[in-house]
Amino acid sequence: MTDALRLPPDLLDDQLPRVLGEALTGLYTGEPRLPARVGGRTAGLAALHAWTGEGYAGRNFLSGNVSRLSMYLRHGMLGLREVAAHARAVMRGRERDEFLRQLTWAEFYRLVLRQEGARVLGNLEDPKYPARWTDTLPDDVREARTGLPCADAWVTHLVRDGWLHNHERLWFAAYLVHWRGVDWRSGYALFREHLLDGDIANNALSWQWVASTFSNKPYFMNQENIDRYSGGRWCRTCRAECPFRASYGELETQLFGTRP
């Protein structure tokens, strides 16, 4: 016999935080509360069918129409094939191709995980600049009180929604690794804790792509980029000393040193 606890498979959402919360005491962080989106294939299919992909060309804007299907794909509630088939049926032209290309990143990362196994949890390559990273996630970052309205919002969104737009993930990762000098694994762990779509392949390998341990150069942004793709959301009223306000050339020298 085992000392297992059994849970009925038909708890209603109203009962979920209390009953599941008790069954999993000591096994989770934060408050027991429902996820921002309902889990399960039925909900995933409804989200897929409701998504037309119209405007996906603007996917890099926070206001862009991205599918938000990643949490369903991650848990196998939807399959990559059926999402691709849906896109081929309802989308047109370059938008369709662009979406299918993004979807293919997920397949690529799964296959890299198959190829590399647990190695994806360490640097796959040397960083492409003289990096000296610390291991610990700074408290002000975790607690969303860096004083930078944008960076604080990225963490707040992550914790509140369990989902972040790809550009917010990229900005946050670049900020943490390049500006704060933190090892990507701490960011990976924070994402794994909160993302509904958090997995080993996409999460670790995307962090490595930003950090330049699985790419040819580090990813970074400047203030202009944040301002543009967020529609001025934070920059318009920001009074903080902005660490991102410089040209790409200046930031490159400041963050990575002069490169050969």
Binding site: D3, D13, G26, G40, A118
Partner: protein, 162 residues
């Protein structure tokens, strides 16, 4: 239910939370088990909403399949071994994923129950590419046609489906 089916159980894990999962579709009537992995969750911080999202996934598939679906909290290999024993199962079916945890659990189960046949179903793939990988761009060039048009490029061998 045939005798052969009565002797199978299915392991449902966090990457296979759908009735369309290959292992579940291969054994629609077999008892299936999902385990919240206690040692893993004790070691690795995960916020509650994610666990609730997974619960909802199991609940949804339990409502859509004829077989029994159980949810437990414990050590996965131990629970799978006990579940298989309770159902007098000779076979356990599961869909592969590529995480190190999957391999660890399968090894643990093999050690605990050497007599239990573990049948591993291959997960669905978007492409048929099977070569070595390095950068996305090179990969994309190889699979572009297949992904965009839903059919493999002519010079690509089709993957065998089992």
């Amino acid at each position: 239910m045939t005798a052969a089916q009565a002797r199978r159980v299915v392991w449902i894990h966090g990457d296979s939370l759908s009735v369309t999962d290959p292992a579940l579709s291969a054994c629609p009537d077999a008892p299936a088990l999902f385990v919240f992995d206690r040692p893993f969750l004790q070691a690795v911080p995960v916020a509650f909403p994610r666990l609730a999202f997974m619960y909802q996934g199991v609940r949804d598939l339990a409502a859509h399949r004829p077989g029994l679906t159980e949810i437990r909290v414990g050590a996965v290999p131990d629970e799978l071994a006990a579940f298989a024993a309770a159902h007098h199962a000779a076979e356990l079916h599961v869909t592969r994923n590529f995480t190190p945890d999957f391999a660890r659990i399968v090894d643990g189960l093999r050690a605990a129950r050497p007599d239990l046949r573990i049948i591993i179903h291959e997960p669905e793939r978007l492409t048929s590419f099977d070569g070595p990988l390095r950068r996305f761009f090179g990969f994309w060039k190889k699979v572009e046609r297949e992904v965009l048009h839903g059919e493999p490029a002519p010079d690509f061998p089709r993957r065998g489906h089992r």
